[in-house]
């Protein structure tokens, strides 16, 4: 009887959080899955018997015009750059700052500042930097002796994607740096000192002691970087909105355009569902890759 009362108490204490979790996370996902099965514009009332199209919306995503596959490829490129460029750079900064250098707090604040600034503001800033006529980038190149046509950083299909990714990666360097810095600071000084006494250089201490110790935080950073890249939207929306001619489109841009410009609520919901599946898949995959194993590769 006491045991039963205990379970009831646990359930009652969990209930508010459970309701919030189901209401704010699970229910919208289920609704998105439901809507993704209909040809519906989101404005009129849904007619389940007439509007049901099954998985047709998912197939439509990969037709020649919507080019969801190409947008997905762009998101994967961004994820790759995040993991192999942004994170190592953030880690290097975190390791450097973790050594109690002079002005540590000031550097921390400076690197973290782009995370605090509104993405719209950052977008406007980079629009000015990239402006083909008066942008600081072209002005700088001309000062170096470049005298060709204005470079259209956001208007040329061949370079627009790279141009959009630079600020996207730059903005969150400070975010990952702060996560990793917290980990670096948490490494026991005794471990460092022991390694030093054994004759390790700074590089060897970082490689053999600090990085293995903060592996769980690196895992979190990688998950955030990959899922964040798959969901990337705001800065690209401000800079190019997916243009020129779809060159910088990512899945979220297509989703918004289908939902609110083309009034294709079913297709937009299908993209939302695919993004959720992809984010879960990569979070689990990364978790699996980072699992601690013994020397024989077994858990």
């Amino acid at each position: 009887m006491k045991q039963k009362q205990k379970y009831i108490a646990i359930f009652l204490f969990l209930l508010p959080a459970l309701l919030l979790f189901v209401g704010l996370l699970i229910a919208p996902i289920i609704m998105s899955i439901y809507y993704s099965l209909f040809d519906w514009n989101g404005l009129r009332a849904l007619d389940p018997s007439n509007d049901f199209v099954g998985l047709k919306n998912y197939a439509t995503l990969f037709n020649q015009r919507i080019q969801f596959g190409s947008a997905l490829k762009n998101a994967f490129i961004l994820a790759g750059l995040s993991v192999f460029l942004q994170l190592p750079f953030s880690l290097a900064l975190a390791l450097a700052l973790g050594k109690k250098i002079k002005g540590e707090r000031a550097f921390l604040s400076i690197y973290f500042l782009p995370v605090l600034i509104s993405t719209v503001v950052i977008g406007q800033l980079w629009l000015k930097i990239y402006n083909p006529e008066y942008g600081i980038l072209n002005t700088f190149l001309r000062a170096l002796g470049y005298d060709g046509e204005n470079i259209r950083w956001l208007g040329d299909q061949s370079i627009a994607l790279g141009s959009v990714f630079v600020p996207t990666l730059w903005q969150y360097v400070g975010y990952h740096m702060l996560l990793l810095y917290a980990g670096v600071k948490g490494v026991s000084p005794e471990l460092r000192e022991a390694a030093k006494l054994d004759g390790c250089t700074d590089w060897q201490v970082n490689w053999n002691v600090v990085i293995p110790t903060i592996k769980p935080i690196i895992k979190v950073s990688v998950i955030f970087a990959v899922t964040g890249s798959l969901k990337s939207f705001d800065l690209i929306y401000v800079l190019t909105n997916g243009g020129p001619m779809k060159a910088t489109e990512v899945p979220s841009i297509i989703m918004i355009n289908q939902l609110f410009k083309a009034n294709q609520y079913g297709i937009g919901s299908a993209i939302a569902v695919l993004l959720i599946i992809l984010c879960f898949f990569f979070a689990i995959l990364i978790g699996f890759i980072f699992k601690e194993r013994d020397i024989y590769g077994k858990k």
Binding site: N41, S118, V120, Y130, P132, G155, P244, I256, A262, Y265
Partner: protein, 440 residues
């Protein structure tokens, strides 16, 4: 000291973020009581009521002065009516209003575009029919059925037109004078000759924005070319009445636009620029021509550098077998609508008078031509607006802006193809083939 500095930094950040917010609540000034000759039965507006209003008249928008004056007039006339206005930037507004529609959270009164955009809302059964409120104005000749045509669905009126606009070819006459032109080129031969001479003097003839959000700017060039090639009726059949895009005249129009781009008639940087940047370039004298909506008349009339040098004209006829001068792109599109709901009766009465006042002040300020019968002193109408009015006086036919005329899903596909045309990725043949297979 450090703490004070930190507090100041935080405050600066909060204010900067607040300043970046796109939405803003505005309260009208109560300093103008001229409401003209109104006849609406406004008894419903004599009691305390708060109405919500959403529109796109942002601070820099040419319509803002007209909105402010209209709100002030109505505040004086109906002191018990409180308007809570939310202003949103054009593109964000399209998303916002559709989201609100889907969530049944429409404001009492809202700005919309006539044609298919409002049509989707009407079909969803969420817009209040304004027949009763508009009928007295139609009966006394203040409003015509023709002006209401774009917001009439199944014979019922669902919108109050404010001003109407057409695609206008704005020309900087000082620049044209440098190549020996004292008039806007009236034929394609003249236009080509003028552009070649401008290029010889390192002057860019046309400016056109090509950023993805501003693809509609490219349609301001493409649609008049198509209309002057295949004629207004044929274009209307395609855009409004669902005829096939498989039309060789459309293909040759696309090819003509692309040949102009290839010849260097358009600013190559345009594809990376937004409309506001291109417009500023024109006002700074970088381009000889800028083809866009007549709502720009107010801005050009007030800009110090170009207010005496800009003239308004229309794009020349391309194929005289079908196209004629006076075939125009545009018509009444800017519309005020009312949502179904508890406040619908009061909102409808308010919206009709509000729309009429925006029309009056917008005409005087140069943000458009009057969809309503003109009243009051119009001696202050800007000369540039008068030039556009003269063009409209000789109008043969109007075709509504393509992205307004077509349903949202078709318009989205159409704009994607137009963007590819400007980027040189599809030819005229590809354009009609693609639109034929994807739309009809």
């Amino acid at each position: 000291m450090k703490r004070i500095l930190a507090v100041l930094l935080v405050l600066a950040m909060v204010f900067s973020l607040a300043a970046c917010s796109k939405d803003e609540d505005k309260k009208p000034d109560n300093n103008n009581t001229n409401t003209g000759n109104t006849t609406t039965d406004s008894g419903v507006l004599d009691k305390e009521i708060t109405l919500t209003l959403w529109d796109i008249a942002t601070e820099g928008d040419g319509n803002r002065p007209a909105y402010d004056k209209a709100l002030a007039d109505l505040k004086a006339k109906y002191p018990k009516v409180t308007i809570t206005e939310t202003v949103t930037e054009n593109n964000a507004y399209k998303t916002k209003i559709k989201s609100a529609m889907g969530a049944n959270e429409l404001p009492d009164i809202f700005f919309t575009w006539a044609g298919a955009f409002l049509g989707d809302f009407v079909n969803a059964g969420k817009v209040h029919c304004l027949d009763a409120e508009l009928q007295p104005w139609i009966d006394n000749g203040e409003m015509t059925a023709a002006q209401l045509g774009n917001s009439t669905y199944n014979g019922k009126h669902y919108g109050v037109p404010t001003t109407y606009n057409i695609v206008t070819l704005f020309a900087n006459m000082d620049i044209l004078a440098k190549v020996g032109y004292d008039h806007i080129p009236a034929t394609m031969d003249e236009l080509n000759d003028c552009c070649d001479k401008l290029l010889a003097q390192n002057i860019i003839p046309f400016g056109c924005a090509g950023k993805t959000d501003d693809t509609w700017c490219v349609t301001e060039y493409l649609e008049p070319i198509i209309e002057k090639t295949i004629g207004a009726t044929a274009l209307k059949d395609i855009m409004t009445f669902g005829k096939t895009w498989n039309n060789q005249g459309v293909a040759s129009s696309v090819d003509l636009l692309q040949s102009m781009i290839k010849k260097g008639y358009f600013d190559p940087d345009g594809i990376a620029l937004g409309n506001e940047e291109v417009k500023q370039n024109f006002m700074a004298g970088k381009y000889a021509f800028y083809q866009n909506g007549s709502w720009n008349c107010g801005d050009f009339s007030n800009a110090e550098k170009v207010k005496f040098t800009v003239k308004a004209g229309e794009f020349p006829v391309v194929d005289s077998a079908n196209g004629k001068l006076g075939m125009l792109i545009g018509g009444p599109s800017d519309t005020i609508a009312v949502s179904e709901g508890a406040n619908a009766a009061a909102a409808a009465a308010y919206a009709v008078e509000f729309g009429r006042l925006i029309c009056h002040y917008g005409y005087l300020e140069g943000s458009g031509l009057p969809a309503w019968k003109v009243w009051g002193d119009t001696s202050s109408v800007k000369p540039l607006v008068q030039q556009v009015a003269d063009i409209c006086a000789k109008a043969v036919d109007y075709v509504l802006f393509g992205d307004n005329a077509m349903p949202a899903d078709e318009a989205a596909i159409y704009l994607e193809y137009v963007s590819s045309v400007y980027g040189g990725a599809v030819s005229g043949a590809d354009f009609i083939k693609g639109l034929t297979s994807e739309i009809r």
